[in-house]
């Protein structure tokens, strides 16, 4: 892995005009890539160069660039968010690549995430899953003192392990079946671990699973590829928790 010398990379980037148009790979050779650049900064630079030549820049989603907003959605060399584990594409740095390497960049691919343009996809399905039941139905103002609900450190920590989901959709992108089980499971598990989530637990799991189904995500086959690509490392146990909640809802 290079650390100091500038690199040259051969990029194969997916270009697609809209959801219904046919896409293709476009080749670009990028020289003068500084190894301390982030992956997105490398794309910024490519776009600068394209625009300096009057060409159309490549569209990709990004926002916070510190791995928390969940906007970025690049499949880099066949892996959502690229080769570094527990790292969103925006936190991936070029020092992880080698001089002369060919790098392919594709968008998330799933029926439930239609392509908007180039590498940008529509992830509204996640919002709808959340809206179906990913909440505690409390009203602003109708609460008790925060310390009136004791919650063991263990329960809070477990809940937090699932709550850290950034909603990027890498789990769907990586899943051979395009399942959204890790995302949905993480939401359900987060509430399942806390007393606040208890009153609505049955309704929540049924509604969210039903919505997941409606959106056209695939079934889960417990490949755990989702856990491997999750930039915050959410465990597949989230999916097991979802099923446990579901069993409770059966009776």
């Amino acid at each position: 892995m290079s650390t100091h010398e500038n690199m040259t990379l051969h990029l194969k980037i997916w270009r697609q005009n809209g959801p219904d148009s046919k896409g293709h790979f476009e080749d670009h050779t990028m020289d003068e890539v500084n190894p301390h650049m982030s992956f997105l900064e490398m794309l910024d630079l490519l776009n600068e160069r394209l625009m300096q030549n009057g060409k159309q820049p490549i569209e990709f989603d990004h926002d916070c660039r510190e791995g928390i907003c969940g906007s970025c959605n690049l499949v880099i060399n066949g892996i959502p968010h690229g080769p570094e584990m527990r790292t969103a594409a925006c936190q991936l740095h070029m020092r992880k690549f080698n001089d002369g390497e060919t790098v392919t960049i594709e968008p998330w691919r799933a029926k439930a995430f239609p392509i908007i343009k180039d590498l940008v996809v529509d992830r509204d399905a996640f919002d709808r899953i959340q809206a179906a039941g990913g909440f505690v139905s409390t009203r602003t103002g109708s609460m008790v003192d925060a310390n009136a609900i004791p919650i063991s450190k263990e329960a809070a920590d477990k809940s937090m392990d699932y709550a850290v989901c950034i909603g990027c959709g890498a789990c769907v992108a990586a899943c051979p079946n395009s399942s959204a089980s890790l995302f949905t499971g993480a939401k359900i598990a987060q509430f399942a671990k806390l007393p606040q989530g208890a009153p609505e637990r049955k309704r929540r799991v049924v509604a969210m699973v039903e919505q997941m189904e409606k959106e056209g995500f695939g079934d889960c086959s417990n490949y755990a590829e989702c856990e491997a690509v999750c930039p915050v490392g959410i465990s597949i146990s989230a999916i097991a928790e979802m099923r446990k909640e579901y069993v409770k809802a059966l009776f």
Binding site: M85, K111, V209, C220, E227, I236
Partner: protein, 230 residues
């Protein structure tokens, strides 16, 4: 939604796959235990008596067989439909796709579940025709404890002296092992084994169960073949 409808969602399907899978695995354990009586040093008497005991269970056996068939077909049906759903959920596939490794359980075993499953499906049909309905071999009987009964031990011995049957059978047992390697762990997760600290342990248990069952079923044909009989 009613409970019946709830079982038809993706999570419901997975629960059913897990339950049927575990029950079928338990059946394999029982089946293996029965098979291993072949190794009793009595020329197959214990094995034949065990088989005869099962055959004489009457309606209980029929119920048991029906349940087994339902479990098996349900398991296969859901497995096939999950596989068929893939294409629908991702109409345009990746040009480049790679596993991240690490905690990923994508390996030869998990990626070939559908194929190992289909082979097992075919095998089970042949296996039943072979040893239950004697479709491929002449009917031999023996008399034990004053009763005439099928000499199943002889059937088995005869089959596994044939190298082609032995090879084919052995290959299928390896495939069953592969199916179980992902299947057992997967069933745990499907049935809600949610403790993240346990997932590694569960995966190991799956591997052990797979190896023990596959090895147990393999010993018999290989032993008979190499030994030139029981």
């Amino acid at each position: 939604m009613s409970s019946l409808q709830l079982l038809q969602t993706s999570v419901g399907r997975k629960l059913l796959t897990g339950i049927t899978g575990i029950l079928l695995t338990l059946f394999l354990v029982a089946h293996l235990a029965g098979n291993l009586t072949l190794f009793a040093p009595d020329g197959g008497v214990a094995f034949n008596l065990y088989a005869d005991f099962l055959h004489n269970l009457g309606p209980i056996l029929i119920i048991f067989e029906i349940v087994l068939i339902v479990l098996f077909l349900l398991h296969a049906y859901i497995g096939i439909s999950i596989y068929r759903g893939r294409k629908k959920a991702r109409p345009e596939n990746y040009t480049y796709y790679k596993s991240q490794g690490g905690p990923s359980k994508q390996d030869f075993a998990s990626k070939t579940m559908i194929y190992t499953g289909l082979v097992i499906l075919l095998f089970v049909v042949l296996h039943v025709l072979h040893f239950k309905y004697n479709f491929f071999i002449p009917h031999e009987t023996t008399t034990l404890e004053g009763r005439e009964m099928i000499d199943l031990a002889y059937h088995v011995e005869k089959a596994f002296l044939n190298p082609w049957i032995t090879i084919a059978y052995s290959v299928v047992m390896v495939l069953i092992g592969l199916h179980l390697k992902h299947g057992v762990w997967s069933a745990f997760i499907s049935l809600g084994a949610g403790n993240p600290k346990l997932t590694a342990l569960l995966y190991t248990i799956g591997i052990i169960v797979a190896i023990l069952l596959a090895a147990g079923f393999l010993i018999i044909p290989i032993y008979i073949f190499l030994n030139g009989g029981l």
